[in-house]
């Protein structure tokens, strides 16, 4: 499918083994996720009706997904009526072609960008670069990733794998305006980013954003952010191009009262994030004069067709599931081989991309099924349920298929089961010496079959009672 698998990405266990051995990475991750975990719990505990908000958020999303065509038609109509232009893209290539054409039509060769998962998913920056258009990431963490020639490793904090000292080094190396005496104080680093980007914001004529929500009833699009780089991109340029997954639509403005409560507390553990912008088409004399909304499918309608897996499309990208996941905290985001890491990535990537590649086929197994992700999810996605469902669909190794086939044949008939149990009882000595399934025997003892099965014992002894 057309969400890029990072080039040469090994399956999850191989990538994770490398990451787990990196003690600095593990320390950075443990500190950051530990902090946010406690703060999220406090922010959520403050609302006595959290369970009711969560249930309602889930119901609104399920309702919308069940009538998605209806709401997308309505959104298109209202955005158009408000002076925007709506485009439809079946996959990444189509979306990239549309955005590239729109930027070319403005004659510009540089665009400023607000952090957006959808544009990462389609590999927009790379597509624009091929067309000779530079995309400047303006979110601080995205900037750290871009300047460090790195990959994002967290939905909300893409540079979570970097500590302050590493960030200072990246800025010193790649940011020409960074002062020579730059310290690793987060405030000084933020100040350096402010200076670096200010001139670009003021000169930018085209911006590209994602969207957190879009209201079908009014054609209103919303971006939730912290730094103000989003406001800069959404307000100052003449042309705004927003790329949005089709599952982001909400029926009415009233629904925002639920999501503007659950999203900030789940993601940054704040009562409210510093800035949320809402706009409806174009407003004369205020903000961009041209607004384009690109509605992206890229595997979403296919995901929607799976009755168990479709709940992944409720996701509002808060990243609470990453911060509580014991596997993510140790393996880090890169091992997931996709812009969507962590538990949600493990169910989203294989559905959007299909289970064809090694990394995607391995993702449903990148979990201990502890259930912490489900518990914190503000839209109640039962991630363990989808993981198990996808495990069933994942392609199996020939040896596993053979073993399961034999087990199935034996269990299907009492006579064959008895014969298999008899054979197992006779091979006790051989099993004790067995070294073959290394992944199992390295950490566990192989259970030795009993000399006599219960069924055989019962047959021999039932007359004695």
């Amino acid at each position: 499918m057309s969400m890029p698998t990072y080039l040469g990405m090994p399956p999850f266990p191989d990538a994770a083994r490398e990451a787990v051995a990196d003690t600095r990475l593990r320390r950075n991750l443990a500190r950051a996720t530990g902090t946010i975990r406690e703060r999220r719990a406090a922010a959520v505990a403050e609302l006595a009706d959290w369970d009711e908000l969560r249930e309602c958020a889930k119901q609104i999303k399920d309702h919308t997904l069940g009538h998605l065509g209806h709401y997308l038609r309505m959104l298109e109509e209202r955005v158009t009526a408000a002076g925007g232009v709506v485009h439809w893209a079946r996959d990444a290539a189509e979306a990239n072609a549309i955005v590239t054409r729109l930027v070319r039509e403005t004659g510009e060769t540089e665009v400023v960008k607000v952090k957006s998962m959808a544009t990462q998913e389609i590999g927009l920056n790379e597509a624009l670069a091929e067309a000779g258009i530079a995309a400047v990431e303006t979110d601080l963490a995205e900037l750290i990733v871009q300047l460090g020639d790195d990959r994002p490793s967290h939905l909300l904090v893409p540079a979570i794998h970097r500590n302050r000292a590493e960030i200072r080094e990246i800025f010193r190396r790649a940011m020409p305006s960074a002062p020579a005496d730059l310290t690793d104080d987060p405030a000084a680093l933020a100040e350096a980013a402010r200076r670096h980007l200010r001139a670009r914001f003021l000169a930018a004529r085209v911006a590209v954003s994602g969207a957190n929500f879009a209201v079908a009833e009014t054609g209103t699009v919303l971006v939730v952010e912290s730094e103000g780089n989003g406001r800069m991109c959404l307000t100052l340029p003449e042309t705004l191009i927003t790329v949005m997954g089709i599952e982001k639509v909400l029926p009415t403005a009233r629904d925002l009262e639920v999501f503007l409560q659950v999203l900030p507390r789940s993601s940054t553990a704040e009562r409210m994030n510093p800035y949320t912008s809402a706009w409806t088409g174009v407003t004369p004399g205020d903000g961009p004069r041209a607004f384009h909304l690109v509605l992206l499918d890229n595997g979403r309608t296919a995901t929607l067709a799976d009755a168990v897996g479709r709940q992944a499309l409720r996701c509002i990208r808060c990243s609470a599931c990453l911060n509580v996941c014991p596997v993510y905290a140790r393996a880090g985001g890169h091992a997931y081989g996709s812009p969507y890491p962590g538990p949600i990535g493990a169910i989203l990537s294989p559905q959007l991309r299909g289970l064809g590649s090694d990394v995607d086929a391995s993702l449903p197994f990148a979990s201990s099924l502890c259930g912490a992700c489900y518990e914190v999810c503000p839209v109640a996605i039962d991630i363990p349920e989808v993981l198990v469902h996808l495990r069933g669909k994942a392609p199996k190794k020939p040896s596993e298929r053979l073993a399961m086939g034999l087990a199935g044949a034996a269990l299907a008939s009492p006579r064959r089961l008895a014969a298999a149990q008899f054979a197992a009882g006779r091979s006790r000595r051989a099993v004790r010496r067995l070294r073959a399934p290394r992944a199992w025997t390295d950490t566990r003892d192989v259970p030795v079959p009993p000399a006599q099965s219960f069924r055989a014992w019962w047959k021999a002894n039932r007359d004695r009672t």
Binding site: D49, C56, H67, E94, A187, L236, T280
Partner: protein, 209 residues
Amino acid sequence: MTGPDAPGGPDPATARDDILGRLGAPDDSVAEAYGAIRREYLRRHSEGDVRALFAERVAHYRAVVHTVTEARLPGALAAALRPGAYVLAPGLPAAWAAAIPPDRRAADGAELDAVAGVVTGCAAAIAETGTIVLDHGAGQGRRALTLVPDHHLVVVPADRIAADVPEALARLDVTRPLTFVSGPSATSDIELTRVEGVHGPRSLEVFVL
């Protein structure tokens, strides 16, 4: 057929029809199903003095908060000015800005990156979350005005303060451009530690009437 995205690009009509085609035909049950969504959450989380709660919550974000009477507001605004000129949002009540000397006022068309700050009112505020909502109508200015300058002085009349998010949204027209502001610009991107002041105004000073 070649659409505007050709050559080599997608045919837009086909993409739209394809996606909508996969989502099934429109049905009449939507409104009824939407109405059946259970909304058992609270309309507000705190009872009592919304003004005091708002002042406490907005201060939590390290905004500077002044609770003043209407009579003392002009003096308080003038005293808060830092060196440099300030833009007064078009439509700001003249009485509020009465004590700001003419030579400290910048024209609305001024180079925004060069002014010290901006003085505005607001459309609504949310006590529970310490949020100020601008709808960029009278007394608030276009969006860039409260974004580029570094110091934002905002006046919040008590009757504009809603107890909680649902009540505030009900008061707003979402088809206007809206900006929800909760404290000064901030980031948590470095080790998930909050730092105030990135691209938006680094100082938010709130005058609650």
